[in-house]
């Protein structure tokens, strides 16, 4: 849709208002991130002033501090193990289930699909108590594998719904032809169907990655010094000393930088993933 005014001055005015509004939206979206970045680069005495110090001599001291003198590299490592582990487990499991649920139709399958949707609404805290008690009783407390398995479970419904949408677009004849040629259904899936939906798999993987990267509540309770990821570590920097704020700004920039890059590069895939299932219903 294109706005069409009647006279030229009105069009120009409308245009100007649209740009102004969009500029405001962009500014509001970016400002908190910009502020974190500059805070992390300021001397602590410049960082918390009124009015704010706009021009300052940048320093990398806070970044150096958190990456050299605190266990931040360890937390980053934990975050990477958790996110990559989650993607590697969740995507194959989700793809296969989605394929089945797209290929067959029945009343129980409908019910299952909607039950999966309900998982999204689940009060997660309800499961935190059993997870915690089981983790404490076994050796699973503060391990990567426990967090990975939990995130995989919570991510399954999303991955299944998203991937099912992609599989529904694949003509039924495709795997069937392969099976007539002597493939098993697993071979037909792996060799014929999967290559067709590769963009979908990629999109699902991106979202799963973000989902695991951003997980907080379960990690807060179920990890300690061994498996604690970045998200929890940053939130735990207290506010008692003003230096802490500079450090946590540096930490925030550290955890944000990959996301910003990620979004910039993957924008199109993310948009597709978010809107895909929606428009299909």
């Amino acid at each position: 849709m294109v706005s069409r005014g009647v006279g030229a001055p009105r069009v120009v005015l409308a245009r100007a208002l649209v740009y102004l509004a969009l500029l405001a939206v962009v500014a509001v979206s970016l400002f908190p991130i910009y502020f974190a970045l500059t805070t992390s680069l300021k001397q602590t005495r410049d960082a918390f002033t009124t009015p704010p110090t706009w021009i300052f001599t940048p320093t990398l001291e806070h970044h150096r501090f958190i990456w050299v003198e605190t266990p931040f590299p360890r937390y980053l490592f934990n975050t990477l193990v958790i996110t990559i582990g989650t993607v590697l487990l969740s995507i194959p499991l989700g793809c296969m289930a989605a394929y089945y649920l797209a290929r067959y139709r029945s009343r129980p399958i409908q019910v299952l699909l909607f039950s999966l949707l309900a998982v999204r609404a689940f009060p997660r805290i309800l499961l935190l108590v059993p997870f915690f008690l089981v983790a404490r009783a076994t050796q699973l407390y503060d391990t990567h594998i426990l967090i990975i398995l939990i995130i995989v479970a919570f991510n399954q419904p999303f991955a299944i719904w998203l991937m099912r949408g992609f599989f529904l677009d694949v003509p039924r004849e495709l795997p069937e032809a392969a099976m007539i040629d002597g493939c098993s259904s697993l071979q037909a899936f792996l060799r014929v169907v999967l290559p067709v939906v590769r963009p979908g798999v990629f999109t699902a993987a991106l979202f799963t990655f973000l989902f695991a990267y951003n997980e907080f509540l379960y990690c807060l309770i179920l990890t300690g010094s061994h498996a604690k990821p970045l998200s929890v570590a940053i939130a735990q920097y207290g506010a008692e000393k003003i230096e802490y704020w500079s450090w946590s700004a540096a930490g925030a920039v550290g955890i944000l930088a990959p996301i910003v890059l990620f979004i910039a590069v993957m924008q199109r895939h993310l948009v597709k993933g978010l809107t895909f299932g929606t428009l299909k219903g």
Binding site: S29, P32, A36, V119, A121, L128, F131, V152, A153, F216
Partner: protein, 292 residues
């Protein structure tokens, strides 16, 4: 009846994923349900069966009703603002503008940020002394409140934080919807001399209705269980003015160490949500069958 082929496929394709779900969602859920009938104070190693005592305790607990109220107010306000604002911005983006890709990317950013970190950024924005929100308010002559430290404004700080982070989701979905508004009714409306406002209300909005319903459902579900931002921004305070249901549940389980009681609270939350979601799924299911 399922064919042999289908049964074999089910075993290969569906069962692995469902096993994970059963072990990690269904089993703990059952565990939690069971636990809700027990008195289990973590430091004491033995548990006693207490029937419905935990449920009775919670229903008579003022903090529970407060938390429910806080959660309802938060969800209502945040989702309402996000939907209205999101539709407005999506309509703006729909106008033909240059560097749309850049604008898209920027608008998407807050959505992808770790919620706990977004909470941190927002806590800095709303800091009462050197926070930028109050600085900008000062520039236009308004003396800003203490935000996260002020009982009257703390919940609003979190609402604004949520609006900042989650409006992009609404924008994105509505924008995608706008891209796929069928052209013919639009042209027909134009030929009939409809104004832009009329076209919007009579052609575009009815088309967007299912999308907006979808967004409402997703956003309310997420807003209802907000925790990360509360944890980082206010810790439920000042007092208990920002203590949401999930946060209260966390306090009960991991500060008061009342595992049985916390399970009961989780079960009650689940029941409340199920009622609401049952109604929503009914609506969505009708949509799937094409009965709008």
């Amino acid at each position: 009846m399922a064919s042999r082929q289908q049964r074999r496929d089910r075993l290969i394709f569906l069962v692995p994923s469902m096993t994970v779900l059963a072990v990690l969602l269904v089993y703990p859920l059952a565990y939690s349900l069971g636990l809700s009938f027990y008195n289990y104070y973590l430091p004491v190693p033995h548990t006693t069966f207490v029937g419905l005592d935990n449920f009775r305790y919670i229903l008579g607990d003022d903090a529970f009703w407060d938390a429910l109220g806080v959660t309802a107010r938060f969800t209502g306000a945040a989702v309402a603002i996000e939907v209205v604002l999101g539709i407005a911005v999506a309509l703006l983006l729909d106008a033909r503008i240059p560097c749309r890709r850049f604008v898209n990317t920027v608008v998407l950013l807050p959505m992808a940020i770790t919620p706990a970190v977004a909470g941190l950024l927002m806590r800095w924005m709303f800091e009462s002394n050197w926070g930028l929100v109050n600085y900008f308010l000062g520039l236009v002559g308004v003396r800003g409140p203490g935000w996260t430290g002020d009982p009257a404004w703390a919940l609003w700080s979190i609402i604004f934080a949520d609006v900042w982070q989650n409006t992009p989701f609404v924008i994105l979905v509505v924008y995608a919807g706008l891209q796929s508004v069928p052209v013919e009714p639009l042209e027909a409306a134009m030929v009939d001399g409809a104004s832009r406002a009329q076209t919007l209300t009579h052609v575009v909005f009815p088309f967007l209705r299912p999308l907006v319903l979808f967004v409402l459902i997703i956003r309310s579900m997420d807003a209802f269980r907000i925790f990360d931002q509360v944890f980082v921004m206010t810790g439920g305070g000042p007092g208990t003015t920002t203590q949401t249901i999930t946060f209260y549940n966390y306090v009960m389980a991991f500060r008061q160490l009342r595992m049985g009681r916390a399970s009961a609270l989780g079960v009650i939350t689940l029941l409340i949500l199920s009622l609401v979601i049952g109604a929503w799924i009914y609506l969505l299911y009708r949509r799937e069958k094409g009965e709008w």
